[in-house]
């Protein structure tokens, strides 16, 4: 480590957020991934609106057409049809909305719990921290999968429930992260100063600590989206997911798995969609992490 940092020659160093932005802009892969995320989001939104307006395109995703069932990709059904003759391409586009919504909202739920629990543990420390962290340990010991399975069976498989359950089981990482940030920031000069000025707990948390922990939390959030998408896909795959006929990427695969040896297109394309979406989010998240990191890896 170069301890004697030479002084900069040109103007004063840019603000951290501006520097992060500049770093992010320099990251070609990250930009591309972010572009993908935006395209996906726009697509999902467009098709959601089209669906709500009653203008299904290219076809009604839920219209069955038994004469055309299990057709391989062709000029009418670009990605083939499923066991009821529904157009896979239309279902994929329509499913994007649900899959992405599940991803985002589940992350929101998980962040909300994780940040709250982590803040409480990190701010109060001592036995509160100890108690909460042991509880977090206990939850982390669970094979998450059984937890999700039983929880979904318990509350029933609606979109909202799935979102909540995925959020409920995935907050531990965030909680740990936030707590660690708190433990560091709690001792920092400006928090000490704020405390010396007589500011109260919540104010310190919301005004001084949380904004400074925002960057890593943001990164966790972006990286959490694909995990939630994958979790929904896994659940739907086992038949615990979003109810038919509503298409999601996961339950298109789930419906298709029975025909797997006879109709490969039923699982190939939705799988690729999941892969692509998850990958875009992961790469965006990673680029974001590199950008906000206080020390750039390449230096």
């Amino acid at each position: 480590m170069i301890t004697t940092t030479p002084e900069p020659i040109n103007a004063a160093a840019a603000s951290p957020s501006r520097r992060a932005l500049r770093r992010f802009r320099a990251n070609k892969i990250g930009l591309f991934a972010l572009g993908m995320v935006c395209v996906l989001g726009l697509l999902a939104l467009t098709f959601f609106i089209l669906d709500r307006l009653g203008i299904p395109w290219p076809m009604d995703p839920n219209a069955t057409n038994l004469e055309r069932k299990l057709m391989p990709p062709n000029s009418v059904n670009w990605l083939g049809t499923d066991n009821l003759g529904r157009d896979v391409f239309s279902r994929l586009l329509n499913g994007a909305y649900i899959s992405l919504t599940v991803g985002f909202v589940a992350v929101f739920v998980s962040l909300f719990i994780g940040v709250t629990v982590g803040s409480i543990a990190g701010y109060f420390g001592k036995w509160v921290d100890n108690l909460i962290m042991r509880a977090v340990d206990a939850i982390m010991c669970f094979p998450t999968f059984f937890l999700i399975l039983t929880a979904v069976a318990l509350v029933g498989p609606s979109i909202l429930n799935i979102i909540v359950v995925i959020g409920l089981v995935s907050w531990t990482g965030t909680a740990r992260l936030v707590r660690a940030e708190f433990l560091t920031l709690r001792e920092s000069a400006y928090v000490q100063a704020a405390r010396a000025l007589g500011q109260r707990g919540p104010k310190i948390i919301f005004r001084h600590i949380l904004p400074n922990a925002a960057a890593p939390i943001l990164v966790t959030a972006v990286l959490g989206v694909p995990e939630a998408i994958l979790a929904e896909a896994g659940l739907s795959f086992l038949g615990f997911g979003v109810q038919p006929p509503q298409a999601t990427w996961g339950n298109i695969i789930a419906d298709g798995k029975t025909y797997i040896l006879d109709a490969w297109w039923l699982i190939l394309f939705p799988g690729l969609a999941i892969l692509l979406a998850a990958l875009s989010f992961y790469l965006t998240g990673d680029a974001l992490r590199q950008a906000v990191e206080t020390r750039s890896e390449r230096q």
Binding site: N83, L84, A153, P157, F240, D255
Partner: protein, 695 residues
């Protein structure tokens, strides 16, 4: 720096080594020839729960115990009942009529003698008088013959009444003691099993029941004591089956098979500690007697026509189990059973396979195969993967794949109608489904032909009610309701459901909207649900489809009657008794009449079918019942699917004993009892020499 380079070598070397060994392993596995042994590989979805046949209820356990154990009776290839461990059997019944005085009994006998034209027509063998009782001995159980004979008595017999007793504690000798105190000898029969009892008596209901209640309450307390009348004939009708057992049958451990084993098996099924799901089949048994080692006589308390089939139940070895408390069985016997069947249990690797090996001393001759391996696989897809790599020899083909397998020369296909049907059950507790016109409209609105063509790929027929065409008591005259959406609309209009502003029909301000539920993971059912949804939308009915995990589906919705409509199927046995599914007493939560069907004529038929042993009469009554229920449309009866099993063509042939000590060598063929009926006579053609030398 040697340490450093070692680290480097390890870091690169370990993953490369792992990858390399895996690649070599793949190469080895891919190149291994299908060097099959003289074994059969059967794949099944799921693991057997137990290999104790009286405790098992799942089909996987059943397929294993089927080759390890024998029942007293079995079906032959034509689905007729033939002897298995029993070489022959006799049916009979003693019907006892009670009269006010001894003289009346004698008079009735005399009138009977006078009126008899043809004894055999009514199966009467002999009759006798004992005090005030007239006893008829018949060669066929049932109530109708006895009633016809009773018409000739000319003297009115005193009707008998039957009550069932449920006590909070085991009844023990209480009922017998009560009978002994009866001053007028009006208690004619008592029966006790644990907490349950039955009492048959003559005369004044109020008086006897009152005394019984007081007597029992003194001993057991009022709480939990239930005394209620039972539907039973008005005379004592006690059917009897006598089995003559095969000589020289030995258990796999060498011990001889005797009547004691049969008696023990019956006792075990009735033992509460065993919790056998088969107990209801034997609850009407009055006694099982073993006059000698080769004879078993079973007496029933009243006619129960499914009785004979119940003795297809596998028989357990008394010498191994009689001294072991039932809670120890799961630890030893249930994992390593000893039977009398063509194959002996060999090994059970959990979640992998159960292997049974040939029983060289099988009493019907030595089977050809060395062993049978029952592989347990998690789902239909893995089963198919196993079949395609020849890890199992058979596969129940998915309907959409049958076509391509039929074209392929390497396979033999066995297609047969199943004993099952799929339906949409309407919850008759819901007002909207209570109108018959609505239910008929629903039936007319759904295109079942299309469903069969595209969901089953043509492998199925439209269902016309509670029985399937393969059953001998099926009524072929029931005409299915045709697909006719216009008629459906008319019927709905007539029922007051008129199209509303959004196209959905409305009546009294309520939209015709309901939720159709089914379990997830079954593509056929989810396809049905989606198509029903589509078809009904066309006639102005708004259907929401929901799918739940099986356990949730049953517990929360079906068993509680908490649903509007449900897609389900019944897999029926060969029996005609459908009391549990349709009788009006079976509509409570957790019972099987979950749609809440209640019909007096149907109740009467369901009750009388149980007491009928006459084939023609059973056909008539079942036919009537089938028509009756179909007319009521409590279900939308959809279709009876056909099952197709695929076998690698070169895998097996059959060489089985034919008539006159000859051997019939033939390809595996479908019988009424399925392709696997002659399982013990299957052989692999590569091992033909051995099979030929075998006899």
């Amino acid at each position: 720096m040697p340490g450093m380079s070692r680290v480097r070598v390890l870091i690169v070397g370990i993953p490369l080594l792992l990858a390399a060994v895996t690649a070599v392993a793949l190469w080895t596995v891919a190149r291994v020839s299908v060097d099959k042994k003289n074994e059969m590989y059967i794949g099944s979805i799921g693991e057997p729960t137990t290999l104790n046949p009286i405790q098992a209820a799942d089909s996987v356990s059943g397929s294993v115990t089927g080759v390890v154990f024998n029942g007293l009776l079995k079906y032959n290839a034509g689905l007729e009942i033939v002897g298995d461990l029993a070489s022959e059997w006799d049916l009979g019944q003693r019907s006892t009529f009670f009269f006010g005085t001894d003289e009346e009994a004698i008079m009735a006998a005399a009138n009977l003698e006078a009126g008899l034209v043809d004894r055999t027509a009514l199966n009467l063998q002999r009759y006798s008088v004992e005090g005030n009782r007239l006893m008829l001995e018949l060669s066929l159980p049932g109530v109708s013959d006895s009633r016809k004979l009773a018409e000739k008595f000319g003297v009115p017999a005193i009707p008998v009444r039957t009550v069932s007793i449920t006590a909070p504690k085991p009844l023990g000798e209480a009922l017998a003691e009560f009978a002994a105190t009866d001053p007028a000898g009006r208690v004619v029969r008592v029966w006790t099993n644990g907490n349950l009892g039955e009492l048959v008596y003559l005369g004044n209901e109020e008086e006897t029941l009152g005394r019984l209640r007081v007597w029992l309450a003194e001993r057991f307390g009022e709480e939990g004591l239930v005394i209620e009348p039972v539907l039973a004939p008005e005379f004592l009708a006690e059917p009897e089956v006598t089995f003559r057992l095969h000589e020289g049958v030995r258990w796999h451990d060498g011990a001889p098979f005797t009547s004691r084993d049969v008696k023990f098996t019956y006792d075990a099924i009735m033992d509460d500690r065993v919790a056998s799901p088969r107990k209801p089949d034997y609850e009407l048994v009055l006694s099982v007697e073993t006059p000698d080692e080769q004879t078993v006589r079973v007496v029933y308390r009243r006619p129960f026509s499914p009785a004979l089939e119940s003795w297809m139940m596998s028989i357990l070895p008394a010498h191994l189990l009689a001294d072991v408390p039932p809670d120890q069985w799961p630890l030893a016997f249930n994992r390593a059973p000893v039977g009398t069947g063509p194959f002996k249990f060999a090994e059970w690797k959990t979640n992998q396979f159960v292997r049974v090996a040939r029983n060289d001393d099988y009493f019907k001759g030595r089977p050809h195969l060395d062993s049978i391996v029952f592989r347990s696989l998690p789902d239909p897809l893995t089963l198919r993967l196993a079949f395609e790599t020849r890890q199992v020899d058979f596969w129940s083909a998915d309907p959409w794949a049958v076509g391509s397998f039929r074209k392929d020369e390497r396979f033999t296909l066995f297609t047969s109608p199943s004993n099952s049907y799929n339906y949409v059950g309407w919850n008759l507790r819901r007002p909207m489904f209570q109108d018959l016109r609505v239910r008929q409209a629903l039936a007319h609105a759904v295109n079942i032909d299309q469903m069969i063509r595209y969901v089953l790929y043509g492998y199925g027929t439209q269902s016309t009610g509670i029985f399937t065409p393969e059953m001998w008591f099926f009524n072929p005259d029931v005409q299915p309701l045709a697909y006719d959406p216009e008629k459906a609309k008319q019927l709905l209009d007539a029922a007051g459901w008129v199209p509303g502003p959004d196209g959905v029909r409305v009546k009294d301000g309520k939209r015709f909207a309901f939720t159709l539920i089914t379990n997830n993971g079954n593509v056929i059912r989810s396809d049905i649900a989606t198509l029903v949804q589509e078809n009904l939308r066309a006639v102005g009915i708004d259907v929401t489809v929901e799918m739940y995990e099986w356990a949730v589906f049953l517990k929360r919705f079906v068993n509680q009657g908490e649903f509007d409509a449900v897609v389900l199927g019944w897999a029926l046995g060969q029996g005609f008794d459908q009391f549990q599914i349709w009788h009006s007493t079976q509509t409570e939560p957790e019972r099987l009449n979950m749609v809440g069907y209640q019909s007096e004529p149907a109740d009467r038929l369901l009750e009388s079918i149980r007491e009928e042993f006459d084939r023609a009469e059973i056909i008539r009554q079942c036919g009537e019942l089938q028509q009756l229920i179909y007319n009521d449309q409590p279900y939308l009866f959809l279709f009876v699917p056909e099952g197709t099993s695929v076998m690698w063509k070169d895998a097996f042939r059959v060489k089985r004993p034919g008539p006159d000590a000859t051997w019939i060598d033939e390809p595996v063929t479908m019988t009424k009892a399925g392709w696997s009926h002659y399982l013990e006579w299957f052989y692999r053609p590569e091992y033909a020499q051995e099979a030929v030398n075998n006899p």
